[in-house]
């Protein structure tokens, strides 16, 4: 049995795998946090500035929408490289787990913002109208009606974003980002250690599965429709 493991997974350093998994978890967790913190307000503004919405602002909408589109249309692998000087400016290094977070957020926040905008648009206009008719101001409409009503959609958006961030975080291994992606590139790809590659991919698949399951449960829990 041990001999079999040795031949099949001779190159696998389990401690290394453990650390890399932890790094991936930290990268995804931190960048998800910042993506939500930055993406949620942008998504709300995109919704409010939109056509026939509460704070209709065609110019502001066009500018915000353009920035979001630019960030979303740059292939992530290029965004990783383009972001290097900003990342160095922001946190002093572009390497390791910390260095990977800014580019991952730059990719994740605009993505999440669009998902928030879409889920807010799904809220029945009648509910906004009813809340207005009660004498609510814009802030009360957003926090009292729009966000609670869109919550299941927003949670589903967070799940999708988290899964996207797993792949972004893995890709950041290319610029020395750390985590499972880094391991896969350095050992699995550059040193032809197929066993390492297989293990990292398997771990990423499990990670994504767990995220999706947790997200689906939360959506179900918060759905009242």
């Amino acid at each position: 049995m041990e001999a079999l493991m040795e031949t099949l997974m001779g190159n696998v350093d389990w401690a290394e795998i453990g650390w890399a998994s932890w790094d991936t978890l930290v990268m995804v967790g931190m960048s998800l946090l910042f993506s939500v913190l930055i993406g949620l307000p942008i998504g709300v503004l995109l919704f409010l500035f939109g056509k026939r919405q509460l704070l209709e602002q065609p110019v502001a909408y066009a500018i915000l929408s353009f920035v979001v589109n630019v960030l979303r249309s740059v292939p992530f692998i290029i965004l990783l490289i383009v972001m290097i000087p900003f990342t160095v400016l922001l946190i002093g290094t572009s390497l390791g787990v910390a260095g990977a977070i800014p580019p991952v957020v730059a990719g994740g926040a605009p993505f999440f913002a669009r998902l928030v905008e879409t889920s807010l648009r799904e809220v029945d206009r009648g509910i906004i109208e009813a809340t207005q008719a009660m004498g609510a101001n814009v802030r009360q409409i957003i926090f009292g009606a729009l966000l609670p009503e869109a919550l299941p959609g927003i949670i589903a958006g967070i799940t999708v974003t988290a899964i996207t961030l797993v792949s972004y975080a893995a890709m950041s291994g290319v610029i020395g980002g750390g985590g499972l992606g880094d391991l896969a590139i350095r050992f699995g790809y550059q040193r032809f250690q197929t066993d390492v590659m297989v293990i990292t991919v398997a771990l990423l698949v499990i990670f994504v599965q767990l995220l999706q399951m947790a997200g689906d449960r939360l959506v179900l829990y918060f759905s009242r429709k």
Partner: protein
């Protein structure tokens, strides 16, 4: 009192102003149930939303108790809206809040009520609309009629003086419609609040309204007490609505009338005269023979009425008509 003084509303579509409401004058008295009836697209939805300025007017003045609400600042308008309850065709309840939290919502938004006040008011309102045992359910667990009753409780939460009903019964089945209309009528009587109700069903108007305005293509084409408008419709649109509500096929009716002999009269009985044994005695006195071509006995709000179409042969027609009119029966000569 709600006064519309040359109020108009138009929408800008591709640079052109499309009128939704032509300049309109109208007065709705305090404490009455005022119906606005019209086909979809006639402008009734716009009209009702002008009363709380969910749709801003593009001209004219809207006076609520002598204050011109079109001049209100944003903050004044929000304070004013708390005194105007509104219920909707599709209820527009928040699906993420329980029944009790939906009813509490306008009070929380107002920010002037204590938690204890809100709790006791919600209990009181839910009891009033017979939903106490559903307080902790979510709207999706309720039937349409129950949802609308939550809507009514929510609309009443901040003790409004005006209640706007936007097609409030159009999504409900006939029985539920009846119970919701009864609730609205009771609330109007108990609280003395002004109810403005828009609908495309004349039957709804007949059951609860005191006065009615009929709208067609962005204009009020007829307005008056429901019994007047309902029993003696003048405008073609009003006639359509009345015939529709009575399930009368106009072509069929014409054919029936053509087959009948002699003079054809339409008699309208209202109030007390509805129950008098009049026709027999009139026939004996004047010597006319009559046959009934169509008839209907019903109520307009609380007033009973009857409408009969008769063909009369022989005898002294003049005497018959005088006797009928003397007994407070409205006589219309159809042919």
């Amino acid at each position: 009192m709600i006064v519309f003084d040359q109020v108009q509303k138009s929408y800008q579509v591709a640079g052109r102003a499309i009128p939704a409401l032509h300049p309109t004058n109208m007065t709705i008295e305090t404490g009455e149930v005022f119906g606005i009836v019209g086909h979809s697209g006639a402008g009734k939805s716009t009209l009702v939303r002008l009363i709380n300025l969910l749709e801003p007017a593009t001209g004219g003045r809207i006076l609520i108790d002598d204050e011109d609400i079109t001049r209100y600042s944003a903050a004044e308008l929000r304070a004013f809206r708390r005194k105007v309850g509104m219920i909707f065709q599709h209820f527009n309840l928040l699906s993420s809040k329980t029944v009790a939290d939906n009813v509490a919502f306008p009070m929380k938004l107002a920010g002037i009520y204590s938690k204890a006040e809100i709790r006791s008011r919600v209990e009181e309102l839910l009891a009033r609309v017979s939903l106490s045992e559903h307080a902790n359910k979510y709207p999706s667990q309720l039937s349409g009629g129950q949802k609308q009753r939550v809507g009514i409780a929510r609309a009443l939460a901040c003790r409004p003086t005006i209640l706007l009903c936007d097609e409030a019964t159009s999504a409900l089945d006939p029985q539920t419609t009846q119970s919701v209309l009864k609730l609205l009528g009771d609330i109007n009587k108990e609280l003395g609040l002004t109810v403005v109700l828009i609908t495309h069903e004349m039957d709804v108007v007949r059951r609860v309204c005191d006065r009615v305005a009929v709208m067609d293509a962005g204009r009020v084409v007829e307005m008056g007490p429901v019994s007047e408008v309902f029993l003696h419709p003048q405008h073609p649109t009003t006639r359509d609505f009345v015939f529709e509500s009575e399930n009368i096929d106009r072509n069929e009716l014409q054919e029936d009338l053509q087959k009948a002999e002699g003079r054809i009269l339409r008699l309208t009985f209202k109030g007390e005269s509805t129950y008098k044994p009049l026709l027999g005695s009139v026939a004996r006195e004047s010597g006319v023979d009559f046959s009934i071509l169509s008839g209907r006995i019903d109520h307009i709000k609380d007033t009973p009425y009857g409408q009969l179409t008769l063909s009369l042969v022989g005898g002294d027609l003049e005497v018959a008509m005088q006797a009928l009119e003397a007994a407070d029966v409205h006589v219309e000569v159809v042919r």
